[in-house]
């Protein structure tokens, strides 16, 4: 198999790699839509689609057929050319974003099949393509010639630019820790000993303090970038009808829908590659365990083999985990207000990501100079210093608003209704 692939023309090899990536995503999108609807209905105590096929499994296919045969209405006032291009602009980044994402190990057979392009600039490529995701939304909002759509487009562009920064800086911390922009290198780095001194476990970045912080910032930014609840202001249905895709019907709408789910799924993959050890099922270094406990050597070898050959499956599992998290958030959190969105992005996530970046730099420097213990001590000291500085700054800028002692409202003058558990406040 490996020899046969290596014998092919490079262009054919690349085509195989692209097909192996894009076709599964196309097939998986209907399943994702089914999963979202069923899980959401379960979380919201509803029944959800359960009529077409067992557990409603064929519902997305029925919906697809319906969308395909629906009348495609083009409103009279639209800017026709741009209106037709917009769905393609929305779909392109959704599929292109996986260009450098490895779904398997970079050695052996999988090394030939994944990633599509193992380039030096792997993670920058993903950032660049995800930043192009704004155009589909912005352009469709403009072309629809509808004020609600335009509002959606405007919100989307502002939101994407604001959250790109936090995302970039949180990734920069990981890139510094891994020492490479190449995604396969980042994944391989996570297969090393945990914290530099626990050889049996893998050093998944989510297990390190700075990696955890970066992961939190990154996932929030990703939700904002993909316009998902609670950051779905560009398509807020009760304010903007459906925002940028109000005027789209039939397959054009389906294309927007497909792009949204594909990009969510792939961002789950990016999260897995950056923080969850990529294709590895469990954070265990089988070889190191086998060497420490000779009795388990055979078992560990077999597990290593399972881990290697099942790699695409484990990667898919992690992507599914990511999308489940997205759905969970959608079911849990109410939509943010626009000013809350902006202040979260600029005043919370960006400073946290930058502070994290500085801490990682100090930690790496001290680890190189004084070993793991010195690194952790310096990193902890840096975090402590930043927290103290922040608290001081908060104290210095404290606004002297009168603190409300009670939220009760006087309905009848002089008589505040007494409630259970709430003490009356004098004055």
């Amino acid at each position: 198999m490996a020899d046969w692939i290596q014998g092919l023309h490079p262009a054919l090899q690349a085509t195989i790699r692209v097909l192996l990536f894009v076709v599964p995503i196309l097939l998986i999108v209907p399943a994702l839509i089914w999963w979202e609807r069923r899980l959401l209905s379960w979380m919201q105590d509803r029944i959800g689609p359960n009529r077409v096929g067992p557990f409603g499994l064929l519902q997305p296919i029925a919906d697809g057929v319906k969308l395909f045969f629906k009348e495609d209405i083009t409103p009279a006032g639209v800017d026709r050319k741009i209106y037709f291009i917009a769905p393609a602009l929305a779909l392109f980044p959704a599929f292109a974003i996986g260009g450098t994402l490895p779904w398997g190990p970079d050695y052996g057979l999988y090394g030939l099949l994944t990633p599509i392009a193992n380039v030096d600039i792997g993670i920058l490529y993903i950032l660049a393509i995800s930043s192009l995701g704004a155009y589909g939304v912005v352009v469709s909002g403009y072309a629809s010639n509808n004020k609600y759509s335009l509002m959606g487009g405007l919100r989307a562009s502002a939101q994407l630019i604001s959250y790109e920064l936090g995302m970039g800086v949180s990734i920069a911390a990981i890139v510094m820790a891994a020492g490479s922009l190449r995604l396969t290198d980042i994944v391989n780095e996570q297969a090393k000993a945990l914290w530099g001194f626990v050889p049996w476990l893998q050093n998944w970045f989510i297990f390190t303090p700075f990696g955890f912080l970066a992961a939190v910032v990154f996932i929030i930014c990703v939700i904002a970038e993909t316009n998902r609840a609670p950051f779905d202001l560009p398509e807020a249905e009760n304010e903007l009808i459906a925002g940028y895709h109000t005027e789209y019907s039939s397959m054009k709408f389906a294309v927007f829908f497909m792009g949204e789910y594909a990009v969510m799924f792939l961002f789950g993959g990016v999260f897995a590659a950056l923080f969850l050890g990529g294709y590895n099922l469990l954070p265990l270094n089988y070889m190191a365990i086998g060497e420490s406990v000779p009795a388990l050597k055979g078992l560990m070898g077999a597990l290593e083999g399972i881990n290697y050959w099942g790699a695409p499956l484990w990667f898919l599992l992690k992507c599914a985990l990511g999308i489940t998290f997205f759905i969970w958030l959608r079911a849990t959190l109410p939509r943010l207000r626009y000013d809350q969105l902006m202040s979260l992005g600029w005043k919370t996530l960006l400073p946290v990501a930058v502070a994290n970046f500085i801490v990682v730099a100090i930690w790496i420097m001290c680890t190189r100079l004084y070993g793991p213990a010195g690194g952790f001590a310096a990193g902890g000291a840096a975090i402590l210093l930043l927290v103290v500085l922040y608290l001081n700054w908060m104290n210095a800028n404290k606004k002297n608003f009168p603190a409300l002692s009670s939220r009760e409202i006087e309905l009848v003058s002089g008589q505040v209704p007494e409630r259970r558990g709430i003490k009356m406040v004098d004055g």
Partner: protein, 170 residues
């Protein structure tokens, strides 16, 4: 023709046509979108020259951030089609065309003449445009220039905040 030349011709052709479109189209939004295409294709020209980091920065910064802001402003101001540049019968277009051809000739002469009639095969060393190479050069040979540029950018940021800040009463 080699495959590299064909790739170059296709990319350069799209870039040139889209560049003309930026000035020729009437609608500001369309002009901006064509400019995005131009930036995007330029990035591929950089890739074909081996400058990976430069190319991806081009997409990330120009196509991904600056042009989104441009579109944001155009849409916020809701600029309609403009015919003023065409209706005005002054000498501006003529002067523009002459200057454009002159600039083209100047640059082309500097590129084509040194190559000689046969042209040259361009070849970058492996790892030429990689992040490592660019970072190493930036932080060794050009450290001062890099730091001064970052101070300039910082001044720009502070200035824009000052301009955008609401005036306090008192």
């Amino acid at each position: 023709m080699t495959s590299a030349q064909i790739t170059f011709l296709i990319l350069a052709g799209i870039a040139a046509i889209s560049a003309i479109g930026v000035v020729a189209l009437n609608s500001p939004v369309r002009s901006a979108l064509v400019l995005v295409v131009n930036f995007f294709v330029l990035a591929f020209l950089y890739f074909s020259l081996g400058a990976q980091l430069l190319g991806i920065t081009q997409i990330l910064v120009y196509a991904g951030a600056i042009m989104v802001l441009f579109l944001f402003v155009i849409m916020l101001l809701n600029l309609g089609n403009t015919n003023s540049a065409i209706q005005k019968k002054d000498g501006k277009p003529l002067i523009g065309i002459i200057c454009g051809i002159g600039l083209f000739g100047l640059i082309a002469s500097q590129i084509i003449l040194p190559m000689g009639p046969r042209g040259q095969t361009a070849g970058a060393a492996p790892g030429y445009g990689s992040p490592q190479a660019v970072g190493y050069t930036l932080f060794t040979n050009y450290a001062w220039a890099f730091e001064i540029t970052s101070i300039l950018l910082l001044v720009g940021i502070v200035g824009s905040i000052l301009l955008a800040k609401r005036r306090l009463k008192s």
